[in-house]
């Protein structure tokens, strides 16, 4: 199997993911609506005081982003496992981890990117200072690939399990904690006008680490689920 063929397999899987997602539009839109609604809940819950909201906005946006990313994850491998696609992918001569990487990339494109585009709206609703908007989007751009990469591990591990949904969150939330800490810290630093390049660099490092390691774990988990 040479590199060119691997590329071909990867791009085919990538395109297939996109096609499947486009045919099931509600799966794409529902997490975003969930995100929007949860963000609306906060001013109703803690009061609409602009100072309070601006103070907790980075945390709220990141926590809701994290939770909404958990929503669609369950479907990532379950349907493919049930209709036998996953088994076929395992038989492909292309390394399974590369196929999983393209699946992760497609998932990010379908969930992470819309989230980033929605984020200015959320920032506006929560009265986040405009000076921090760019940092918020940058932190989402650097952080959401990690959500997809680590999330794929959880989805692959629970694909064959009996009670998938709650278990998936149970497994994944502790693993997302470092991301949450550094991402919110970066946005908060931007709000108070402190330098935050270091924090964004750490965020980028975490994402690169997760993108390099997680396809291997996902491939191993998929093999467990398929057997």
């Amino acid at each position: 199997m040479n590199t060119r063929n691997s590329w071909q397999v990867m791009s085919t899987v990538f395109k297939r993911e996109l096609t499947v997602a486009v045919r099931r539009k509600s799966d794409l839109i529902n997490p975003l609506l969930f995100l929007l609604m949860v963000v609306t809940l906060f001013p109703l819950g803690v009061g609409p005081g602009p100072d309070v909201l601006a103070r907790i906005a980075p945390g709220i946006i990141w926590i809701t982003a994290l939770l909404s990313s958990l929503l669609g994850l369950e479907r990532l491998f379950r349907d493919d496992l049930q209709d036998g696609t996953l088994e076929q992918l395992c038989l492909s001569p292309c390394p399974l981890s590369l196929i999983m990487l393209s699946k992760i990339a497609a998932h990010w494109l379908l969930t992470g990117l819309p989230l980033i585009m929605l984020s200015p709206l959320l920032a506006m609703l929560l009265n986040l200072p405009t000076s921090a908007w760019l940092t918020l989007m940058l932190s989402l751009l650097l952080g959401t690939p990690l959500l997809s990469a680590i999330g794929a591990i959880g989805a692959a591990l629970t694909a064959g399990a009996q009670r998938g949904g709650a278990l998936l969150s149970l497994i994944l939330i502790p693993l997302f904690i470092p991301l949450l800490i550094f991402a919110t810290a970066a946005v908060e630093a931007a709000v108070v006008g402190m330098p935050n390049q270091g924090l964004l660099a750490i965020l980028a490092a975490l994402t690169v680490l997760s993108l390099t390691c997680s396809p291997l774990a996902v491939a191993a988990a998929v093999k467990v689920s398929v057997n």
Binding site: G160, A161, R163, P174, L175, P178, A217, V224, S225
Partner: protein, 256 residues
């Protein structure tokens, strides 16, 4: 070394070994635990700042150390189970996780109880307590995944992968939480982390760390033996160990 280790890949051989080791571990665990706790509670001098409340460290510190240690042990077993496909190692995950979770729970509870007189609150978002809490979540995840599958082999493998992912994440979580803590609270009292501890207090602490290691090992051995018997219950050796002699008639039927 491989020739020495290889027989123990068979459950029967390692069960015998564990059974031989168990009484030694159990006895020494009880003895060291009693000595170290009586020493720490009654004979070690009181702390000049914290008074007698510091005596909680004689359980808190060892429990915290071995909650981490058990997780690393579990991850090593997970690696062995995945790479060499040794079933005993995959059962060890199910044996170690509850013990580690219990140690984590002890560390959390004693930390909270120590915090009440020292900080004035039961729960302070202190870096070590927070990462201990996250460690507890990681244990719960591994355990939940282990038992979420109908097929036990798949469950063990999935839990093994999660344990390895968790152990890679553990240092990252630890340092991020520590950094987060300094960001939000400034320097709190560095709990139990004084650079110099008087020898009169240190020796019982070291002994209690040893004692908790032995307690952890004893519990793990007990649970691992159960796991082995449970998974091999259809084998004659396991039935013999459980006090049930495989009936002659049946074995004749089977050989036919």
């Amino acid at each position: 070394m491989w020739r020495w280790l290889h027989p123990y890949a068979k459950a029967e051989a390692s069960y015998r070994l564990l059974s031989r080791l168990l009484p030694w571990f159990a006895c020494s665990a009880v003895v060291t635990l009693l000595i170290s706790l009586v020493w720490g509670l009654a004979f070690a001098p009181a702390d000049y700042q914290q008074g007698d409340s510091y005596r909680i460290i004689y359980i808190h510190v060892p429990a915290a150390i071995w909650s981490m240690g058990a997780y690393f042990g579990m991850a090593i077993m997970a690696l062995i189970a995945l790479v060499w496909q040794i079933r005993t190692a995959s059962w060890a995950i199910a044996a170690i996780a509850p013990v580690g979770a219990a140690m984590t729970a002890i560390a959390l509870l004693t930390g909270a109880i120590w915090g009440k007189p020292m900080w004035g609150t039961w729960w302070e978002w202190d870096a070590r307590l927070t990462s201990e809490l996250i460690l507890f979540f990681l244990y719960v995840g591994v355990l939940a995944l282990y038992f979420a599958f109908d097929d036990q082999k798949a469950g063990a493998k999935a839990a093994a992968i999660l344990a390895i992912v968790g152990v890679i994440n553990l240092p990252i979580i630890h340092f991020s939480v520590e950094w987060w803590n300094t960001l939000h609270q400034g320097a709190t009292i560095t709990k139990f982390g004084r650079p110099s501890i008087a020898n009169d207090m240190l020796w019982p602490l070291l002994l209690s760390i040893l004692a908790f290691a032995l307690v952890t090992a004893t519990l793990i051995i007990m649970r691992l033996r159960n796991e082995m018997l449970f998974n091999e219950i259809h084998r004659p050796w396991a039935q013999a160990e459980l006090g049930v002699n495989p009936p002659v008639a049946v074995s004749q039927q089977e050989t036919r």
